[in-house]
Symmetry: C2
């Protein structure tokens, strides 16, 4: 239902919703959205420092408040033609959806799932990043800066999603380790010790024989390579339905942490490549983002960065 209402740009309604003096700021530190759609440059960046710091309001709102903020920003983006401005506003809308998910986490009575909110927000950011190839050689400096901010969001969203379900993953992991350990014993799989050339002859810190966990872990790579070359690999294995479902869930949850590291590394690489100075400024004005940063710290950091991007691209 809401999906449909979100598709149609509803500019008129928004104009009503934003009748504020152009100098006003939202509590969440956003400059008034009305200004962003103004295509031509304003003299704003001559009246204040090149990279002014936004004022952030510590007032906590409920999920609905942030949902309404997010919808406004998304409608604004839907209505824009310029792909960069569109992507910037989708990214800003995503920040409000993140605040919405964070409010859902705070509220024990909240019926809706923060996990679903975060996972849908990931899709929104990915959609914004598909508007143009923001990481290609032809991408502008501004587009690459936006890509870095988006990758940071993706990384910390995936990390948060992982943390929300890691207790499930841990439970599944124990059961699956146990299952695969036993199935490996019963199968004709080559010994991890024989298979793992690298581990052969490595001095062992232990006076004891290695535990199953560490020995299986250290052979995880070889186990696969040897199997793929083994004739048995063409056959199939019967596993309990329960294990099959558990493995599917485990892969889905752990995929989040893998994506998180992947996007974090991409953001690092991309920011070092060409945008070092911009992000050094951002790190000095805000706390640098880390994989321990809270959702609130993420939102403020990226919102500050988006504000500077708007100034530099004369979107304000």
């Amino acid at each position: 239902m809401l999906i449909i209402t979100l598709i149609a740009p509803r500019i008129s309604q928004e104009e009503d919703a934003h009748g504020k003096p152009s100098s006003s700021f939202h509590g969440n530190g956003q400059p008034d959205p009305d200004l962003w759609s103004t295509p031509s440059s304003t003299s704003m960046d001559h009246l204040e420092p090149r990279r002014p710091k936004l004022m952030f309001n510590d007032t906590l709102h409920n999920a609905d408040y942030y949902m309404q903020e997010a919808k406004k920003l998304k409608h604004k983006a839907d209505a824009l033609q310029d792909k960069f401005g569109k992507a910037v506003n989708y990214a800003d809308g995503a920040l409000s959806f993140i605040e919405c998910g964070n409010a859902m986490e705070r509220d024990p009575l909240e019926a809706k799932s923060p996990y679903t909110m975060y996972s849908e927000t990931v899709e929104l950011i990915r959609y914004a990043m598909r508007l143009k190839n923001f990481t290609s050689h032809s991408a502008t400096v501004a587009e690459k800066k936006l890509a870095v901010l988006c990758y940071r969001c993706l990384s910390l969203l995936y990390l948060r999603m992982f943390k929300l379900k890691k207790d499930h993953a841990m439970k599944y992991s124990r059961s699956l380790m146990e299952y695969f350990k036993n199935s490996a014993k019963s199968s004709q799989a080559p010994s991890p010790w024989g298979a793992n050339g690298k581990s052969a002859g490595t001095p062992s810190p232990m006076s004891l024989s290695p535990s199953p966990v560490s020995s299986v872990s250290s052979s995880s790579g070889p186990l696969v390579s040897s199997s793929s070359s083994a004739s048995s690999s063409s056959g199939s294995v019967a596993i309990p339905q329960r294990i099959h479902h558990m493995a599917a869930s485990h892969v889905n949850i752990t995929n989040n942490i893998l994506r998180s590291y992947e996007h974090w590394d991409t953001a690092d690489k991309l920011s070092r490549e060409s945008q070092a100075e911009f992000f050094q400024d951002l790190d000095s004005v805000m706390d640098p983002l880390t994989q321990q940063s809270s959702m609130t710290e993420l939102v403020r950091y990226v919102r500050q960065g988006l504000h500077w991007l708007r100034i530099e691209a004369h979107l304000l």
Copy 2:
């Protein structure tokens, strides 16, 4: 082979190896091991500040150097009777094994596997922690401090092991997600949307229908719970040998990151409980440990902590 040689305490050889003035420090910042086995208190802690900072030497040695250091410390621990002193020295030995693994990572010509070195070091630390129940109510304050230091080591070792293999895990994850997505389509599994009560009616940030990934992810919990109650869960599923091996490897690699978070949380909880002041001092003298800390930062932080534990327990 070496496992056997490590079992036998070789005190005499060590006495030779450590004929240094009692005030001397190793390059790696360890007080002379000969002193640690002295059971009675020395006047050292009256001659210097209560919690003196160790001097750390930045000289990089090769893997063999740290291996020899580690063996000396391990032999020392093997020879001790007092379980706390024994555990402290095993932990210190583990730090040298970590330095050894780190040196293996630095040396492109190093034939041995840092992953195996780290996983065996995990086993050594777990062995040391099994000497006594360091986390029980009956544990002394010193024992709990040691447990916190050991959990930090375990957490960052598991994290490093995960990072060493995460590219494999990412590759397996993509293939497994694809496989389970298709198998879910073909199976009679209940719709994630129907199954996931929490996601029902959640406003979607997207104008587009959710991607398979996010929709499957958000239903990972329910997918399992519904299956376990489903009659089909009693049956079994035939999966390709290749997928079976891949899933086993994927579980083994991702188990590392799950353990890493588990032990990190345990260390946080345990240090807050009773040892806050000790670790506040440690954080102020050293850089506080984070999940971004390098192996070198870990080793120095924990070695400094072990030094203070020795002083407080009169093991110096």
